[in-house]
Amino acid sequence: MTAVSNADTSLILRCQDNDAAAFNEIVARYKNRVYNYICRTVGPGADADDLTQETFIRAYMNIKSFQSRATLNTWLFRIATNICIDHQRKVKRIQSNLVPLQREDADNEEDVQMDIPDTRYNPEDMLLTKELNTELSKALLDLPEKLRTVILLHDIEGLAYEEIMEIVDCPLGTVKSRLFNARQTIRKKISHYLNSSV
């Protein structure tokens, strides 16, 4: 067991003993990772903020039933994944009842991307990086939910295959093939940038 998971286990045990400070520590540790994952899944904006809060509320409510065979990392991402899936189903249901809508937060997303500082000093490079990041974000959002979950967890959040297997509840072969398909789809979508840079 790694030092991180040992510390997590100790935090969980403290939470199960009704120690509110321990839960605050969990929130401080994971809020940005969970928020980033949710933003990449549903798009940044008010929804992502609410869904992140919902993830931590659900974790807080169920902390006493947390089984130590899973890691806190895996557990939180699993909750976030389920919440995002529920949210997207709800959105789809609403959209199917109304006229097709464009994603409202597309403009916001660009704003958020604009706010992220870039250390590169060449304005041309900066512009290209910004554009590429926007393209990547769009390509991620356009992926089917199953492929997106796997690529976000592996390539952005850095989770191992085994952890992803637990989160998405699929065998290793499925995780590998979904990851390949997701990477391949994104590679094709940004191929014109890659051709210029590779």
Binding site: C15, N18, A20, F23, N24, V27, A28, K31, N32, Y35, N36, C39, R40, P44, A48, D49, T52, Q53, F56, I57, Y60, M61, N62, I63, K64, S65, V112, Q113, I116, L132, N133, L136, S137, L140, I151, H154, D155, I156, Y161, K176, S177, L179, F180, R183, Q184, I186, R187, I190, S191, L194, S197, V198
Partner: protein
């Protein structure tokens, strides 16, 4: 191997998640195929870009909002506490003790059941053919030969009613 078999393996190849044989196959193919080599480089580049993509961070008032919501809530009690208790009782460390206890229990049951003396039953309807046999049977049944009136003994009375009359007369003579 052909490109269509190699390309699905490129992703796992980058993550070092292929078996030694598959890694060797992919390596060998890449040395000859420029198209797959290009795909591999592009995929590596895509992964790097994804890895370097800027992260989103929560808003400044995230903690305050969350605390406000959490202050109204209480964690749910664990509904499966009894299952956890059971699984704790059967945790691997205690399994040898459980095994020893089970074997002891089985041995105890076997001792109780197999050490009992068998109940010997005598069928009174089948009469012994000789007097010696009758005496032996009477001994088994703990009949009192020294009784003043052996005919009071029900089984002896039954003997006197034997069609041959042999035992009845003997009983009378012993009196």
């Amino acid at each position: 191997m052909k490109c269509d078999k190699i390309q699905p393996m490129l992703s796992a190849f980058i993550d070092n998640a292929l078996s030694a044989r598959d890694t060797w196959e992919v390596d060998r193919h890449l040395a000859e195929c420029h198209e797959c080599q290009r795909n591999l480089n592009e995929m590596k580049c895509t992964i790097k870009l994804l890895h370097d993509i800027p992260s989103f961070e929560v808003s400044a008032d995230f903690d305050a909002k969350l605390q406000e919501k959490l202050s109204e809530l209480q964690p749910k009690p664990d509904r499966f506490m009894w299952i956890k208790g059971l699984s704790r009782m059967f945790r691997p460390r205690l399994l040898p003790a459980w095994g020893a206890a089970s074997i002891l229990g089985i041995l105890l049951v076997m001792m109780v059941f197999f050490n009992q003396k068998p109940i010997r039953t005598v069928n009174l309807n089948t009469f012994p053919s000789t007097e010696a046999n009758f005496v032996q049977q009477a001994k088994v049944q703990n009949m009192a030969f020294s009784a003043v009136n052996p005919l009071e003994d029900v089984s002896i009375a039954n003997l006197s009613a034997h069609p041959s009359g042999q035992f009845g007369s003997n009983a009378n003579t012993s009196e």
